[in-house]
Symmetry: C2
Subunit: 226 residues, 2 copies
DNA sequence: TTCGAGATGTGATGTAAATCACAATTGTAT
DNA sequence: ATACAATTGTGATTTACATCACATCTCGAA
C-alpha cells in the first residue's frame, strides 16, 4: 500500500535530491512521520500545538473532557487533516486525539503549511471543503443529539460506522459499550439495552463487538424519526 | 455608519470608474447588496445556492428543521460570512437563515469569490480562521447540549448573548421563550421556569424580553457545572 | 487449567424534563 | 377602548433515561 500521499512528504522527497544536508534537516523538520498503536494519544486537549496533523491511515477518536464524562466528538478516518483551525488559531488543542487502530500520522510544521496554502489555491479550497464536511457533521450531531432519543442516536451511530467508516454492513465496533455511550450521549447500560433490543427485533446481529446491520431501512427510520 | 466593508463591494466600486457599462453589469452581478427586515428569510434549508453570503450588519438566526421541532444552531452576528462550505461544496443549503434584526447582506457570486481566494492567500487564511470559530462553537455546543442539564444550557445561552452578541450585561433577548428553547434544547415551559428560578435566586433580572445579568459568576458556575 | 479484573447484560428505582392543561399577561388590529 | 391572538407562567402528570445494584461473561496472566 502506498502511504506516501501526504503533500508535504512528497514535496520533501522530490526536493531532497537538490539540497545540502543542512537544508534537508530543515525540511525534514517541516514534516515528521509518526506511527501510533491502538490506544496511543496523538495529542491532548489543552496542550499547545504548532503542527497540522495529517492522518495518513487509521481511525482516530476525537474527544474532550466534558463536565460529567468524556465526550467523543467524532471518529476521524484517514486520510484527513486535523488541527487546522487550532494551529492557525490560538494554538491550543481544543480536543484530544487517540488512535483507535494502528495509525500513520504526519506532523506538518505550520509555516510549511502556510506557504503551501499561499502558493496553492486549489489546496486552500480543498481544505475548506474538508472543514465543511466537519461543519456538516456537527450540525448533524447537534440536531441528532438534541432532539432524538437514545435509540435514534444509537441507530445513527451504527449506520455511521457501517457507511462512513467501514463501508460494510458487517464490522467490528472499535469502541466498547462505555465509549459508544460517550459517542452517542447515552449511559453504558442504555447502549447495552438498546443494542439487545435492536438485536431481538432483528435489526442487527450482535456478537460482542462484532456487529452486522440487517435491516438498514428500519435503522434509518429510527435514526430519522426515533 | 460605514457599512461598505464587504471586500467585493469595495472591489466593485473602485474598479467601476474604468469600466464600460457591460462590464459593470457583470461585476454588479458578482456582488449584490440586499436589506432584510426582522423575520425575513435570507435563505432556506435544502434550497440550491451559488452565492457566498456576507452579513454586513445584523443578527441572523441559523436554524434547521429537526425531527421533532425547529432547531436553532447558532445566532450569527455581522460582519461574518455564511454558506462558504455549502457554496464550495454540494451547493445545497444545510440550514435556513432568518433575520432577527434589520440586516444588511451581500450576495457574492461563487466565481468572484474563488478568484479572490486564488489571488489573495491572506483572505483564504482569514476565512479558515472564521470557519474555525464555527467549529469551536459547535464543539462547545455539542458538549454543552449533551452533558449539561437545562439550567446549565440556559445559563450558557444567557452569557452567550451578553458576552458575544450584545457585549453588555443588559440586553433585549431577540428570541421568544419558544425560540430560546429551540436554541437551548428545552421546552418553552422549561425555559420559563428556569428563567424565573434564576430571577428568584437573584442571578438575573427579567422583564419580558429585557434581561439583565446580575451574578455573572454564579451563572458561569451553573453553565460549567450545572 | 484457575483466577481475577474489566466489560457487559439486565432488573429495580429515582429523577430531570417533556408534556398536558389552563390561567394570566401582552401585543395588535379594529 | 374592545376583542382576539399570541406569548408567557405555573401546576399536575407522564416518561425517557440515568443511576444503582448485581449477575454474568470475556479474556489475559499466572
Amino acid at each position: 500500500m502506498n502511504l506516501d500521499i501526504c503533500k508535504f512528504c512528497s514535496t520533501r522527497s522530490s526536493a531532497a535530491e537538490q539540497l545540502g544536508s543542512d537544508e534537508l534537516d530543515k525540511l525534514n523538520y517541516s514534516c515528521v512521520k509518526v506511527s501510533f498503536s491502538k490506544g496511543d494519544i496523538i495529542f491532548k486537549q489543552n496542550a499547545l500545538s504548532s503542527n497540522i496533523i495529517y492522518i495518513r491511515e487509521g481511525l482516530v477518536n476525537i474527544h474532550i473532557t466534558g463536565p460529567k464524562r468524556e465526550q467523543i466528538l467524532k471518529i476521524a478516518k484517514g486520510p484527513t487533516y486535523l488541527g487546522i483551525p487550532t494551529t492557525l488559531g490560538d494554538k491550543i488543542n481544543h480536543y484530544s486525539a487517540t488512535a483507535l487502530t494502528e495509525t500513520e500520522v504526519c506532523f506538518i510544521d505550520i509555516n510549511t503549511f502556510k506557504e503551501f496554502i499561499a502558493t496553492n489555491s486549489d489546496f486552500a479550497y480543498e481544505i475548506i471543503v474538508d472543514l465543511c464536511k466537519n461543519e456538516l457533521y456537527h450540525f448533524h450531531c447537534c440536531v441528532n443529539q438534541l432532539q432524538k432519543q437514545s435509540p435514534g442516536r444509537i441507530a445513527e451511530a451504527l449506520l455511521f460506522f457501517a457507511n462512513e467508516i467501514f463501508e460494510n454492513d458487517k464490522f467490528i465496533l472499535p469502541l466498547n459499550r462505555h465509549e459508544f455511550g460517550d459517542l452517542t450521549g447515552c449511559s453504558r447500560e442504555n447502549v447495552s439495552r438498546t443494542l439487545t433490543d435492536f438485536n431481538k427485533e432483528g435489526l442487527i446481529k450482535i456478537d460482542g463487538k462484532k456487529i452486522e446491520i440487517i435491516k438498514v431501512d428500519s435503522l434509518e427510520w429510527i435514526s430519522k424519526n426515533g
